[in-house]
Amino acid sequence: MSPVPAAALLGALAAAALLADHSAPPAAIALVLLVVCLRAPVRRRWVYLAGALLASGSVLVLSPFLQSAGSHVLWSGPIVPVLGSLDVTREELVMAAMQASRLAAVSLAFTAYALLLDHDRLVQAAGFARRSTLVVALATRLLPTLERDAVGMLEALRGRGVAVSGVRGRATLVSPLLAGSLERGLNLAEAMEARGYGRPGGTRLPKPRRTALDGAALASAAVVVVVGALWL
C-alpha cells in the first residue's frame, strides 16, 4: 500500500477512536494498531510502544483519582488538600478506561506512522503541501535520531567511567540531547540551503501509480471516520 492511503487510514482510525462514545471501540482499534506496530523491528519499536503503553497506563491509573464523577463508590480514600476526596467510582473507572484506550489508539497510530510508513514517498506524493509534509517527516525522524544520540552519549559516559542508571541518571541526558538536536537542526537547514532547497523551478521524482488497494484504503478511511462519528 502507498504511504498516503496508509497515513489516511491511520489518521481515520485515530479520529474514530477519539470520536467514539464507549471504551470498547477505541480499545479494539488500539489492539488492531498494536498488532500492526508489531511488524516493525523490535529494536526500533520498543521505545514507541513503551511510551504509548506507559502514557495510556498512567491515564488509566491516575485519572480516577484526579476526577470526581459518579455515585457508585468502589473505594473510599483519604481527603487530600487541593485534590479533595480520593474516592474511586465505577463511572470514573469507565471514563478512565475510555480516555486511556483513546490515548493508546492515537499513540499507536502515530507509532505505526513513524515506524512503518515510507516518509520519502509521503513527501513525494504531497502535491500542495510539500514543505509542511517535509517538516513533519523531518520531525518524525528526530525521535530515532535522538535515541541514537542518547545511546552514543551513554557509551561515551561509560567509556569515561561514569555509570548512568535510573530515571534520574537518564534525565541528566535530556539537556545535552536537546542542545544537540537544536544544533543538528541548524546543520540540516544549512545543508538543505547548500543543496538548493527553496530555489525556484524545483521538480519532483514522478509519483508512483495508485493501485486498487490504495483506493480501497482511502475509501475505508472515510468510512471509518463516519462510522466512528455516528455509531461507535
Binding site: Q124, R184, L188, E190, A191, E193, G196, Y197, G202, T203
Partner: protein, 152 residues
C-alpha cells in the same frame, strides 16, 4: 577564468570576538585538486562555507573582501543559487541527510536543481554508481555507516 576566486576575504561570525578568516586570497582553476590544511579552529570549514555562499548568507557575521564562484559574487548569489556548481560534504554527513531512503536522498538535490522529472532516476543511479554506492539505493539512510553516508 578561474573556477573560484577569493580576494582579501576577512570574516568574523556574529558575536565572535576573534576574526575567523583574515585577508585570505585564493584562486582555484578548473580540474585542480586543492587540499587546505590547518589546525583546529583555523577557519578551513569557514573558507569552504564562504565558497558555498553559506558565509555570510546563512551565518551572518562581518564579511569583507570578495568571493567569486563560476563568475558569480557570493554576496549576491545565494547558496541555493550556487548549488549545482558548489557541493559540500560537511564534517558529520549525518547532519546533511534529509530523506529516509538513499534513493530519495540523492533525488532531493536533483529535484532542487530543477532536473526534468523523467531524468532524475537515471541521473541518481549514475551518481551513486560513480562513487561505488549503487548497491545502497534501496537502503534506509539511518542504516548506513559513516563512510557510506559520505559517499551518498
Amino acid at each position: 577564468m578561474a573556477l573560484a576566486r577569493v580576494d582579501r576575504l576577512t570574516f568574523s561570525y556574529p558575536d565572535a570576538s576573534a576574526t575567523t578568516l583574515r585577508d585570505v586570497s585564493l584562486r582555484l582553476e578548473p580540474g585542480e585538486r586543492v587540499v587546505i590544511l590547518g589546525g583546529s579552529g583555523s577557519g578551513k570549514s569557514t573558507l569552504l562555507r564562504a565558497l558555498a555562499g553559506l558565509v555570510p548568507h546563512f551565518h551572518g557575521g562581518r564579511f569583507s573582501g570578495r568571493v567569486e564562484v563560476d563568475g558569480r559574487d557570493t554576496r549576491r548569489a545565494r547558496p541555493a543559487d550556487l548549488a549545482g556548481t558548489v557541493a559540500c560534504v560537511f564534517q558529520d554527513p549525518e547532519d546533511q541527510v534529509v530523506m529516509t531512503r538513499v534513493e530519495a536522498e540523492v533525488a532531493f538535490g536533483l529535484e532542487n536543481l530543477g532536473t526534468p522529472p523523467d531524468a532524475i532516476a537515471g541521473l541518481m543511479r549514475r551518481a551513486l554508481a560513480s562513487v561505488g554506492a549503487d548497491h545502497l539505493v534501496e537502503r534506509r539512510t539511518s542504516e548506513l555507516s559513516g563512510g557510506e553516508l559520505q559517499r551518498v
